[in-house]
Amino acid sequence: MTGKAERAGRDTAALRLAAAPVGPRVRRFWHGGDAGVRLASLLVFVVLWHVLAVVLQSNSLPLPLTVFGRVVDETLSLAMPYHLGITLTRVVIAFAAAMVIGTVIGIAMGHWRKLDLFLDGWLVLGLNVPALVTIILCYVWFGLNDTAAIIAVAINKIPTVIVTVREGARAVDPRLMQVASAYRLPRWRTLSRVYLPQLYPYLMAAARTGLSLIWKIVLVVELLGRSNGIGFQLNVFFQFFDIAGILAYTLVFAAIVLVVEAFVLRPLERRLTRWRG
C-alpha cells in the first residue's frame, strides 16, 4: 500500500510538472479532479473487494452487493438508524466533554508552569493506561450505564487533547496578547479574537485525532457494557458469525466518518485558516 501511495505521489508530481508550462487552466483541472481521484480510489476498493470475495468464495467475506443489501435491510427495519443514533449521541457527548475539559486543562498547563509540573505525571499516566482498563473500571465504579460509558470514553481522550492544546498555549504570541492588554480589550473579545485563533490549529488537530479515537473506543465501551449501539450490535453479529451484518455496520460507520471529515472538519479548517491564503 505504501509503495503504491508513493508511486501515486510520484505520478501526481510528474503530472503537475508536465502541466506546469501549459498554464493555469490545466493546473486548475488537476486540482478540480481531486474529487474524481477520491471517487476512483473508492471504486477500486470495492472492485478489489468484489474480486477477492469471488475468488475466495468464503462465508467469511461476503460480496459487496450482499453487504449493501444488508445495509438496506437494516435501514428499512430501523435497527440500524436506532443503534447508529445511540452511538452517535455517545460519540458527540464524549467528544464535546473531552474537548472542553482537555482544552481548559491544556490551556492552564500551558500557562502555569507549576500546574504543568504538578499534572504532568498524571498526564503521562492518562496517556498510557489502556482504554480497556479505564472502561472496565468506569463500569465497576459507576455501574453499567450511559454515564459510565461516556466518562470512560472521555477519560481516554482527554489526555491527548491536553497534550495538543498545551503545546498551542505555550506557542501563544505574548506580543499579540500585549496588544489586547494595551487597548484594554474586554476578556471575551481577547479570548475570541486574539487568544483562541492562535489555538485553532491545535484545536483542529485535537478534534481530528479525537474523533477517530472516540469512534473506536465508543464501540468497545458498547460491546463491553451496553445493550444498544453499534458496538452492541457487532457483538451480537459476532455471536452468530454474521459477517455481512458486521461489514454492513462498519461500512455505514466509515461513511459517516468520511461525511464528517468532508462536510464538517475540512470546511471548518478551511474557514479557520482562510487568512493563510
Partner: protein, 260 residues
C-alpha cells in the same frame, strides 16, 4: 495632562540578577503635546512605555493621566505592527474600537485617508511592511486616543515610507489633539516630530534633559532647521548624546541606517 513619577522599576535579567531599568524618572506631558523620548539602547525607553501603558504594573511609582490612573483611551504602536494575521485590515482596526456605533465609519475614513481603501478585506500577511504600519496607525487612532504611546514605530522602514508615515501621524495627531509619548533612539526623528524632546540617561534610565524644539509645522528629519538643532544639541551636550547614533557626518546616513 500625563504625569509620570517612577521611583524604581526593576526586573530580573537573563542571569536572574535584579536589573534596575528605571530610577527616579519624572516626566510631565501637557494635554495635546507631542513629546519624544530619546535615549541609547537599553536605557529603559520601552520599559517606560510599558509602565505608562499599563502593560507592566510591577513598579514603584505612579502614572496619572488627567487626574487618575490611565484606564481606557490609550493607543499603542509597537516596534512591529502586531496585527492579528487572522483578521482583515478593517477587522484589525475595529478590534480595538469596542461597541462604538460610529467606529466602523471612522475606521473606513482613517484607512481611506491612509490610502488603504482598497485593502479593507485583505489579510495583513498580504501587505507590505509599510502598509502594515499604516494599519497599526489607523488602529491606534480609531479610538481617538487621549494618550498615544509609540515605541519606535517606524524603525526598519525605508526612509521615504517612514517619512510618509510620520507625515500621516502628525496629521492625525493634529486632528485628534491626542497627547503623544514617542520613544525613539533617532535624535533627528525626535526633533522632526516632537514639541519637546526628553533625553534619558543609560540604565537605570531617568530624564536628564528636556528640550523644547521650538519648531512648528510639518518637517522632515532632513530639514535644515532639524539638522541645525541636532548640531547645536550635539555640540552642547556631547557626553549626553554619546550613546545615540551619530548623524553629523553625512546627511544621508539616516536613510542608510533606516534601511538596515
Amino acid at each position: 495632562m500625563l504625569d509620570i513619577d517612577i521611583s524604581r522599576k526593576c526586573y530580573p535579567d537573563r542571569g536572574g540578577r535584579k536589573h534596575v531599568a528605571l530610577a527616579d524618572l519624572r516626566l510631565q506631558v501637557q494635554t495635546g503635546e507631542f513629546v519624544c523620548v530619546v535615549g541609547p539602547s537599553g536605557c529603559g525607553k520601552s520599559t517606560l512605555l510599558n509602565v505608562v501603558g499599563g502593560l507592566d504594573s510591577d513598579v514603584t511609582g505612579r502614572v496619572i493621566l488627567d487626574g487618575q490612573p490611565p484606564q481606557g483611551g490609550i493607543g499603542f504602536m509597537f516596534q512591529e505592527p502586531r496585527l492579528m494575521p487572522w483578521l482583515t485590515v478593517l477587522e484589525n482596526v475595529l478590534l480595538v474600537a469596542g461597541d462604538d456605533p460610529t467606529a466602523p465609519a471612522r475606521a473606513r475614513d482613517l484607512l481611506q485617508a491612509m490610502e488603504l481603501g482598497d485593502v479593507f478585506d485583505a489579510y495583513p500577511g498580504r501587505l507590505s511592511g509599510g502598509m502594515q504600519r499604516r494599519v497599526a496607525l489607523a488602529r491606534a487612532f480609531v479610538i481617538e486616543p487621549r494618550l498615544l504611546l509609540m515605541d519606535e514605530p517606524f524603525v526598519s522602514l525605508d526612509a521615504p515610507t517612514a517619512d510618509r508615515l510620520r507625515a500621516m501621524l502628525v496629521n492625525l495627531w493634529r486632528r485628534c489633539n491626542s497627547t503623544v509619548l514617542f520613544v525613539t533612539h533617532d535624535l533627528r526623528e525626535a526633533l522632526a516630530l516632537g514639541d519637546r524632546v526628553c533625553f534619558m540617561s543609560g540604565a537605570p534610565g531617568r530624564v536628564v534633559l528636556e528640550w523644547s524644539t521650538g519648531l512648528t509645522g510639518p518637517r522632515s528629519p532632513n530639514d535644515a532647521a532639524v539638522l541645525a538643532l541636532q548640531r547645536e544639541l550635539l555640540e552642547r551636550y556631547p557626553e549626553l548624546l554619546a550613546g545615540l547614533p551619530d548623524h553629523t557626518n553625512n546627511e544621508n546616513d539616516w536613510e542608510v541606517r533606516a534601511d538596515a
